[in-house]
Amino acid sequence: MTITETRTQAPGSRSVTDGSALPEPRGLAGWLTTTDHKRIGQSWVISALFLLVVAAGIGAVVGIERLQDGEDLIGARTVADLLHIHGTTLAWLVVAPLALGLATHVVPLQVGAANVAFPRGSAAAYWTWLLSGGLLLTGYGVGGGPAGTTETGVDLWLAGQFGVAAALAIGLVSVITTVVALRAPGMGLRETPFFSWSILTGGGLLLLSLAVLMADLTFLYVGHHFGGQLPAGSAVTGWALTVPGVFLLAVPAMGVAADVVPVFARVRQERPGVVLGLLGALAVLGFGAWAQLSEPTREPLLWATSALVLLPALGLLAGAADTLRRGRPRPGTPLVWALTAGLLLLLAALAGALAVIDPLELHGTAWLDGQRRLALGAALLGLLGGVVYWGPKMWGARVPEPLSGLAVLAVLGGVVLAAAADLVAGLVDDVAAGQPDLGSSDLAGALGVVGALGDVLLAVGALLILVAVLAAARTGRTRTTDADPWEGHTLEWATSSPPPPGNFPEPLAPVTSDRPLLDARTTTTEAPA
């Protein structure tokens, strides 16, 4: 057995139905020691959803605190810390792991592989992320953070972030290698499904970005641990969540949307090469690791990349609209999640393009906080749409549509309202980024209400989607669902829901197009009686 195989695979065969492979242990031991990519993916997704509720809850507390006139319930310093926790948790403990979890579960199915390339690596990545996430949050809790007051707290905070980044990087190596080296025969890169392609391009550049982030954290750790304080320029890690770097997290979400829209339009994607190109362009333009200490309004190249992100965002949304126009759309919440994600991405790109226009003086203001909310919101909506769309594959049951529908409205409304408050505060009142309140003008009160409402709505939406997913997981234990409830176009729908060990019980025929199941369905329909 080579290092890349696991005991769930019978050597020389994808299927374990002949009984020659060792079964995985049941119960908790099974979950703790699993190397099945489907279980690892589920672990990522469920953990990320729980942390979404935590992050959204923190955001709601901050939003409500901003409403208080007179005596503060919690100090301004604490509010600033909570804002930082909210942003960090949302990006690295919710959005990124949600993308990686979906990728770990879905990518091998989409490309026709029996498992991820490095199953033990993927498992190690998940547990490292979980422990490091705990360290990170503990670090905040014992006085850590960028304005931390205790040495131990700041060290823990830095070490936790490093561990989270390293874990995400290891997980990305595994899924990217799966796309590159384990595609089904006949599936070239042009035939790769859009979500898998977005993991290859966006995930690849995110891997490099995470390496750069780890370098920044190493520098900060050495300076703080040996020197007693964070080195000057401790904002060096901020580039990851500002224009244009923040868009990298939205690339997998757009991959989800690109897969979902043609299925619900019931029509073939007319120009798949263009969609692949737009996803790649979004990834390239979203790679901001090279411009850590630059100001977008001062550096021409950074200005250009921040503004040009508008083009692939517009292109993807226009392509989706065209696909829907050509097809016979049918209702379904995955489509709603996908379209709202595209819309928010366009708004985020527009806000980012405006932020780099020097005369507007938006850089460094709360406008950037709002832009970040929109970009992360776009990523969140798209990825949650993926959880709903691939729900049958993940849980063996559809995520309940009523709950999913309410959740998408709540999350969308929450993100838009909260972002609007920040955008207006930055534009009108020149409020600085990351401040505990939205200024002191007459408008600040109204903005506070809008922002608080948005934060609370997001928390409600987070709770709704978590409940919906848990309900689906529970239903899937007792009932099976159709293998292909959406009449999907790509290989993952060619096997049962959920898939068996080894994913495909029968060897796959050579893939001849980017939509093999749609082709097969069309051929079967058109075959003479």
Partner: protein, 200 residues
């Protein structure tokens, strides 16, 4: 339960080869490693002379010791590749020799680097440039340690007979990681120590 939607008369595809999986994964990890050190060295350049001269008055960079240290590391690249060749030839004696010399050279590198640090007269947190220098060189020492661990794992498996001329992917991967660590060492020596140690 799904029935296959693929027409039944199409022949099944051959089982895809898993060759190249380790190579691709190693390539991705090395790319990330290069980005990591590029960022650290960039931070070093950005921190230069921010707090004034980073070494105390009268202290110099121990150029001789550093040149010997990093040359030792460079030599270990050749012995690491010698180990790969020994595995392919299934020659255990050469394999043990090559591994032993490689690990000895790595130990000599750690020894030389720690001596050089002790000669600087400045600690990691004393100023911004010192922090950056120690961050870069310390991270590189850790990278060499990772390469050593990978090599040791490979060595045990090779001595156990798990690798041979037809199954050498992991051996090549371990050597590639070693070469990456050495290449990063060359970059660190040139961009940090050599330029820093030049007379002003």
């Amino acid at each position: 339960m799904a029935t296959s939607l693929v027409p039944a008369d199409l022949p099944a595809a051959p089982e895809p080869s898993r060759r190249g999986v380790v190579a691709v994964g190693t390539g991705l990890a090395i790319a990330a490693g290069v980005a990591f050190f590029a960022a650290l060295i960039g931070l070093y350049f950005a921190s230069q002379d921010v707090d004034g001269p980073w070494l105390p008055e009268g202290e110099l960079v121990p150029n001789v010791a550093l040149l010997v240290t990093y040359t030792t590391l460079l030599m270990s690249s050749f012995t690491a590749q010698w180990a790969v060749a020994a595995v392919q030839l299934r020659d255990k004696v050469q394999l043990v020799l090559a591994l032993g010399v490689t690990l000895l050279l790595a130990f000599a590198f750690f020894n030389g680097l720690s001596f050089s640090w002790s000669q600087l007269g400045v600690g990691p947190g004393d100023n911004l440039t010192a922090t950056a220098v120690y961050a870069v060189t310390g991270a590189h020492a850790l990278a060499v340690l990772i390469a050593v661990v990978t090599f040791l794992v490979m060595a045990f498996r090779a001595l156990g007979g798990q690798f041979g001329p037809r199954n050498v992917e992991f051996v090549q991967s371990a050597a590639a990681i070693w070469h990456w660590a050495v290449a990063m060492g060359v970059a660190v020596w040139v961009l940090v120590w050599f330029l820093e140690g030049m007379p002003r």
